[in-house]
Symmetry: C2
Subunit: 116 residues, 2 copies
């Protein structure tokens, strides 16, 4: 799989994929005969997981640490990070519930005041 296809599959632009390589978030890709990056299922999974972490609010530096723990097989560290991440996700869930509540009440009072 070339970089353009990986970009399509993951929704991450080719620019960003090269950027992730540059900052050391992902390993330097192996290159084919013509010097083009070559990716497989492993990279596809990795990028999708990175996207999942990033979208749930983890900064790239922390994702980098997680990926590094994965690469060195540091399961303890990985488990710790995932557990901390779960806690954050649960907090986000509660926060959003609260924001939904506040927004819904705001909207309701807005509708009320404009119909009278």
């Amino acid at each position: 799989m070339k970089i353009g296809e990986l970009a399509k599959e993951t929704g991450v632009s080719t620019h960003t994929l090269r950027y992730y390589e540059k900052i050391g978030l992902i390993d330097t890709a192996t290159k084919d005969a013509s010097g083009h990056r070559n990716y497989g299922a492993f990279e596809l999974d990795l990028i999708n997981w990175v996207v999942c972490l990033k979208k749930s609010g983890m900064p790239l530096e922390k994702i980098k640490t997680y990926v590094a723990a994965f690469k060195t097989g540091d399961a303890n560290n990985m488990r710790e990070m995932l557990e901390a991440h779960l806690v954050k996700l649960h907090k986000q869930q509660a926060d959003i519930e609260h924001y939904l509540d506040v927004t819904e009440r705001k909207l309701a009072s807005l509708k009320k005041s404009t119909t009278h």
Copy 2:
């Protein structure tokens, strides 16, 4: 209420409050005899609402638009924005549910592989 107290009440730093004023997100505060910004319940509510929108992922530019609609009394625009925001919040809720699921499964498989 002076800027330091508003900062304490809202959790937004004095630097950031002045920044919000500078970018036009909030109006230039009235000043007391010694030139210090003076805030009341209205500003406290406004900043708390801004924090709520910001924390639920709305960029400052959009918040600015909302606040502007509020100032001009454009209830239609406000309602539209709030409804769009609710949709986004519901999407976020679903996303987080998904991320929780993925993370929990990741953690479970990690624990499994390290205990055997």
